[in-house]
């Protein structure tokens, strides 16, 4: 094993879907860690030293060394704890490439667009970001079919893997989309496999242990929107 489990610390913020990804990976692997809640309005010394480049959560600290970026962290957990708990990636190089392809798709086409629904300044930009996000969800439905290979509800087949963790970290925000913006991000009528995926995912013990309460996420998002509107009004 690469190092004592007592040597794991996760710097995070409860609402962040990126932090949730790291938590999911740690829980799936059965790894104990110290959870440190950062106040992003008043960042700690440890946090700033550990992620000087992006100053974002999550940061995983293992044996004193920081690892940043949620997808990099999840892959690190897989590499460093290869002998501990279930694997998140398949062993076959081609299947790994497929898993990484769809993980990159979740990141680049889905998550990055969706963040703009919250953050972009004009109604037009936000509407366009929502359109792009919904289009990405439809493509991801194809990805789920390809990855699961009919073996189960998850991208990893009958058990969760890398893509499930990356998308799974976002589930509470996915569910928050309808109360916030009036649109179902994952709609059983349009993407039945993804809807079934979400249901199966939420049934898992790890999801119940880690996922944020959707109402709390909605309130958090509304507070962020209010702050942004106030900042824009003052410009």
């Amino acid at each position: 094993m690469a190092g004592g489990e007592g040597a794991l610390k996760l710097l995070g913020m409860w609402a962040s879907p990126y932090v949730t990804r790291a938590k999911l990976a740690l829980h799936i692997k059965g790894l104990r860690y110290e959870n440190v809640e950062e106040d992003l309005g008043n960042k700690s010394e440890l946090f700033l030293i550990s992620n000087p480049v992006h100053k974002t959560v999550p940061v995983l600290i293992h044996n004193g060394k920081p690892i940043c970026e949620s997808s990099v962290i999840v892959q690190y957990i897989e590499d460093a704890f290869a002998d501990v708990g279930p694997s998140l990636l398949p062993t076959d190089p081609y299947e790994r490439a497929i898993a990484r392809f769809w993980a990159a798709y979740v990141e680049d086409k889905l998550a990055n667009q969706w963040v703009r629904v919250l953050r972009d300044k004009t109604d037009e930009e936000r509407a366009e970001a929502m359109r792009q996000t919904l289009a990405a969800v439809e493509v991801l439905e194809v990805g789920l079919k390809e990855c699961s290979g009919g073996k189960g509800a998850f991208f990893g087949g009958d058990r969760v893997g890398y893509i499930d963790v990356l998308l799974g970290g976002m589930v509470s925000w996915v569910k928050a989309n309808e109360p916030l913006f009036g649109i179902k991000l994952i709609d059983a009528a349009k993407t039945p496999l993804l809807a079934a995926w979400m249901e199966s995912f939420c049934e898992l013990d790890v999801a119940k242990a880690v996922l944020q309460d959707v109402n709390e996420v909605v309130e958090y998002a509304k507070a962020v929107q209010a702050r942004m509107a106030a900042a824009a009004a003052n410009n």
């Binding site: 970026e69 892959q75 690190y76 460093a80 392809f101």
Partner: protein, 229 residues
């Protein structure tokens, strides 16, 4: 090890296609290079094997298609014997992946905008890309390559800033990186482009210059639709 045929679909001017090609050469994998003639009129082969992104490079290994340049590099590293492209240590692997993502997520857009915009906006993007490249340069830490004594994943990922950077600067009439301001990065760029295996698959500089010069108006038009976040 697989004896199945390997084909790489690329385009001569693409640093992304180069990443995939250099990985194959470093591993000593024989391959057939299939060059797209016109990315405005993509081949059936490309569209069939990369229907989602419709981009080069695409690696075909038997009946398997692998897309996205850095994913191809990782695949080549894992599927074939030969010198490792990614480090063995999990922390070093994470580090290489972090900086490769930094390049693609944080550097490519400001770099492009710093080339083709003007005035105050251009100055802002130039400052941004220079700050980012300073952070990247710091990762060299006196080593010959990001990977140490020999090339690794991050060197391959950063190839654009070794060979393509100065060509784009020349076409745009913009200077972003000088040896005075970026001594280690420029030294690294020379090491990279003169590496015996790399230079076998680098596009000719003069050809790139002529090709990009002819596309200058098109490049300028692309920045109008790019909204930096």
């Amino acid at each position: 090890m697989s004896e199945t045929a390997v084909k790489l679909i690329g385009f001569f001017d693409s640093p992304f296609a180069h990443r995939a090609e250099v990985a194959l050469r470093l591993k000593g994998v024989p391959y057939e290079l299939v060059l797209e003639k016109d990315l405005g009129n993509k081949s059936e082969l490309l569209l069939k094997h990369n229907p989602i992104h419709k981009k080069v490079p695409v690696l075909l290994h038997g009946d398997k298609a692998i897309c996205e340049s850095l994913l191809i590099v990782e695949y080549v590293d894992e599927a074939f014997d030969g010198p490792p492209l990614l480090p063995a240590d999990p922390f070093d692997r994470a580090d290489a992946r972090f900086w490769a993502r930094f390049l693609d997520d944080k550097c490519s857009t400001p770099f492009w905008l710093a080339l083709w915009t003007e005035g105050e906006a251009q100055k802002g993007f130039a400052k941004e890309i220079q700050e980012s490249l300073k952070l990247l340069e710091a990762q060299l830490k006196g080593k010959r390559f990001f990977g140490g004594d020999d090339l690794g994943f991050l060197d391959i990922a950063a190839c654009g800033f070794a060979h393509w950077l100065s060509v784009f600067e020349e076409v745009a009439g913009v200077t972003l990186v000088t040896p005075q301001e970026f001594p280690d990065l420029c030294r690294w760029g020379k090491e990279y482009t003169s590496h015996e295996i790399v230079k076998q698959c680098l596009p000719d500089r003069a050809t790139l210059l002529a090709h990009f010069s002819a596309k200058k108006d098109y490049f300028v038009s692309t920045v109008k639709s790019m909204a930096p976040n």
